[in-house]
C-alpha cells in the first residue's frame, strides 16, 4: 500500500536546521517541538515564541457582494466599514454544526482573506464554492501559495515591529498591509496562544527570510524559542480556545461551547440560523466546561469519560493535557445537562482516575495572577 507523501511548508529546511522533531499533522510534516514543549510554552508566556503555521488554508473572497456573501456564510457580523479588522467566526452547516472556525481578515471593502484550519481546507473550499453560487463574488484558494509565521508572547509586538515599525500602532484583532522586501504581507494582531503578538500572512517566497529576520529580532528578548505544534496545543488549551475536531465539529453547535458569542442572531440570515434558533428554544443538552486536576496525574486525554462522585456518566473530555502555567492537569469537555451544577468530577482515562474540579474557561489569562 503506497503511503501518501506528507506536504512540507517553505520553512521545512529552516526547521530541520534547528533540530526540529517532525510529526504528521493534517497531511503535513510539521515540527512538534524543537527542544521541549514545556520550554517553548514558557517562552511564549514569558517572552516570545515563533511558530510556522503555513499548513493552514488561505482563501480570498472578493467582489462587490463579498461582504454580503460572508454574512450569509458565517455566524459573525462582517461589517463593510470594518476594513482592517480581523473577525473570528464559525461557518455552519444547515443543522447549525460547525464546518470550521476561522478568521476573516477584512483587507478592503470588497476583499477578504479567510484563514482556515489545515485539516479542513478541502471541506471548507468545496462548501464555500457551493454556497457562493448566485453571489457576485470571486473566490481564490491560495493555500498553496501563502504561509503564516506567528510571533506570540508579551515581547512579541516589539519583535514584530522590527519588520515594520507601524505594527506597534495596530490594535488587537486588526491588521496592516505592509510591504517587506518587495513582498505584500498581511500583518495581523491575532493569535492562538492567549498572548499578544502578530501573524504574518505572506507569499511562500517571503517566508524563510521573514523567519530569519524575526528570529534575529527576538534574540535579545529572553526567553525566546522557535515553537512547534506541541506548545501551540498546550497554549491554546490553557487559553480555553477550541480546536476543530475536538471542541467543534459538524455535530457540535457554537451554542454548546464557550463560543456562543460568535453567533449574531440579530443578523437577517446566515446558514444554520434556523437550526440554532430551534436549539435555543428547546435548550442545549450539553455544554463545554473546564476541568482542573486535583492531583498531579494521570493526565486527561480526549475521549476520557467524565463521571460524577457516584460513578455515573456525566460527559466526555474533548481535549486534555498538562497546564505548565497552572502546574496541573487540565481538560475541556462537554457536561450533560443533568450535571451542569457539578463542582467536582472524576475523569476516567482508560481506567485510571483523576479527581478534578469544574472550572470556568479560560484556565489562564495573560497579565492576571494565575
Amino acid at each position: 500500500m503506497a503511503t501518501q507523501t506528507l506536504k512540507r511548508t517553505p520553512l521545512y529546511e529552516t526547521h530541520q536546521a534547528k533540530g526540529a522533531k517532525f510529526v504528521p499533522f493534517a497531511g503535513w510534516e510539521m515540527p512538534i517541538l524543537y527542544r521541549s514543549v514545556l520550554a517553548e510554552h514558557t517562552a511564549v508566556r514569558k517572552g516570545a515564541g515563533l511558530f510556522d503555521v503555513s499548513h493552514m488554508g488561505e482563501f480570498f473572497v472578493n467582489g462587490p457582494e463579498a461582504t454580503t456573501f460572508l454574512n450569509h456564510l458565517l455566524t459573525q457580523e462582517i461589517v463593510a466599514p470594518a476594513v482592517g479588522a480581523a473577525i473570528y467566526a464559525h461557518m455552519l452547516n444547515t443543522n447549525g454544526g460547525v464546518i470550521d472556525d476561522l478568521i476573516v481578515y477584512k483587507i478592503a471593502e470588497d476583499k477578504n482573506l479567510l484563514v482556515v484550519n489545515a485539516s479542513r481546507i478541502e471541506a471548507d473550499w468545496q462548501w464555500i464554492k457551493e454556497q457562493a453560487k448566485g453571489f457576485a463574488v470571486e473566490l481564490q484558494n491560495q493555500s498553496d501559495d501563502y504561509g503564516i509565521i506567528a510571533v506570540q508572547g508579551p515581547r512579541a509586538v516589539q519583535v514584530a515591529a522590527q519588520v515594520n515599525s507601524r505594527l506597534s500602532q495596530i490594535n488587537r484583532f486588526h491588521l496592516a498591509q505592509i510591504r517587506w522586501q518587495s513582498h505584500d504581507i498581511i500583518a495581523a494582531r491575532t493569535g492562538y496562544t492567549g498572548e499578544d503578538g502578530f501573524e504574518f500572512i505572506a507569499p511562500n517566497e517571503a517566508l524563510p527570510e521573514l523567519w530569519n529576520l524575526l528570529e534575529k529580532a527576538a534574540q535579545h528578548c529572553s526567553p525566546f524559542a522557535p515553537c512547534g505544534l506541541g506548545s501551540r496545543d498546550t497554549l491554546r488549551l490553557e487559553s480555553g480556545y477550541p480546536l476543530w475536531g475536538h471542541e467543534l465539529n459538524e455535530n457540535i453547535t457554537p451554542l454548546e461551547t464557550n463560543c456562543a458569542w460568535v453567533v449574531k442572531f440579530q443578523k437577517h440570515d446566515f446558514i444554520g440560523k434556523t437550526a440554532l434558533e430551534e436549539l435555543k428554544a428547546k435548550g442545549i443538552k450539553r455544554k463545554l466546561f473546564g476541568f482542573i486536576g486535583q492531583k498531579p496525574g494521570p493526565i486527561p486525554r480526549e475521549g476520557a469519560a467524565i463521571l460524577d462522585a457516584q460513578g455515573n456518566n456525566a460527559g466526555i473530555v474533548s481535549s486534555g493535557g498538562f497546564s505548565p502555567s497552572l502546574g496541573k492537569p487540565i481538560a475541556m469537555g462537554f457536561l450533560n445537562q443533568t450535571h451542569w451544577g457539578s463542582k467536582e468530577v472524576r475523569l476516567n482515562i482508560a481506567g485510571r482516575e483523576l479527581p478534578a474540579h469544574v472550572a470556568a474557561l479560560p484556565f489562564y489569562k495573560k497579565g492576571e495572577k494565575n
Partner: protein, 129 residues
C-alpha cells in the same frame, strides 16, 4: 557516578542495577530523550508483586502515557518519591537520582536474559531515525 557497563537493559528501555539481591530500576537516557517533557510519574505500591515484563509504572509526557515494565520479577520494596515530586530528575539524571523503583528479586537468573550496554546501544542505534 554510575558505570553504565554494570547495568542491564530491557528492549523496552528500562535499566537495572543489582545490589544485594535488589534490582534498582529506571529508564534509560535514550528513553527520557524520546519521551521528552515528562509531566507525571505513577509508581507501583510498595509490596506489589510483579512478573518480569509486567507493566508496573507509568510515565506521562505532555503528549502521551508510557508504560514502564519490570525487568525482573519480584516484590516492589521501594519507590523514588523524589522523582514523583520532581519529575525533571528523570530527564536530568536517568541513571542516578532519577531511579524509579526497587524490586526484591525472586529469580536472579532472569537478569542474565537482559541486554548489556553494548547490546542496548546497538538496539537504539538501529531504532534511531
Amino acid at each position: 557516578m554510575t558505570d553504565v557497563k554494570e547495568l542491564r537493559f530491557t528492549k523496552t528501555h528500562e535499566w537495572m542495577r543489582v545490589e544485594n539481591g535488589t534490582a534498582i530500576v529506571g529508564i534509560t537516557d535514550y528513553a527520557q530523550q524520546e519521551i521528552r517533557d515528562i509531566v507525571y510519574i505513577e509508581l507501583p505500591k510498595i509490596g506489589k508483586e510483579c512478573a518480569q515484563a509486567a507493566a508496573v509504572a507509568v510515565i506521562e509526557s505532555v503528549k502521551a502515557a508510557f508504560e514502564i515494565y519490570a525487568p525482573v520479577s519480584g516484590k516492589v520494596v521501594a519507590v523514588n518519591q523524589k522523582a514523583i515530586e520532581d519529575v525533571s530528575l528523570v530527564h536530568q539524571s536517568p541513571y542516578e537520582e532519577g531511579w524509579l523503583f526497587k524490586i526484591e528479586m525472586r529469580n536472579r537468573q532472569e537478569a542474565d536474559g537482559l541486554m548489556n550496554f553494548a547490546q542496548y546501544n546497538q538496539l537504539t542505534a538501529q531504532a534511531h531515525h
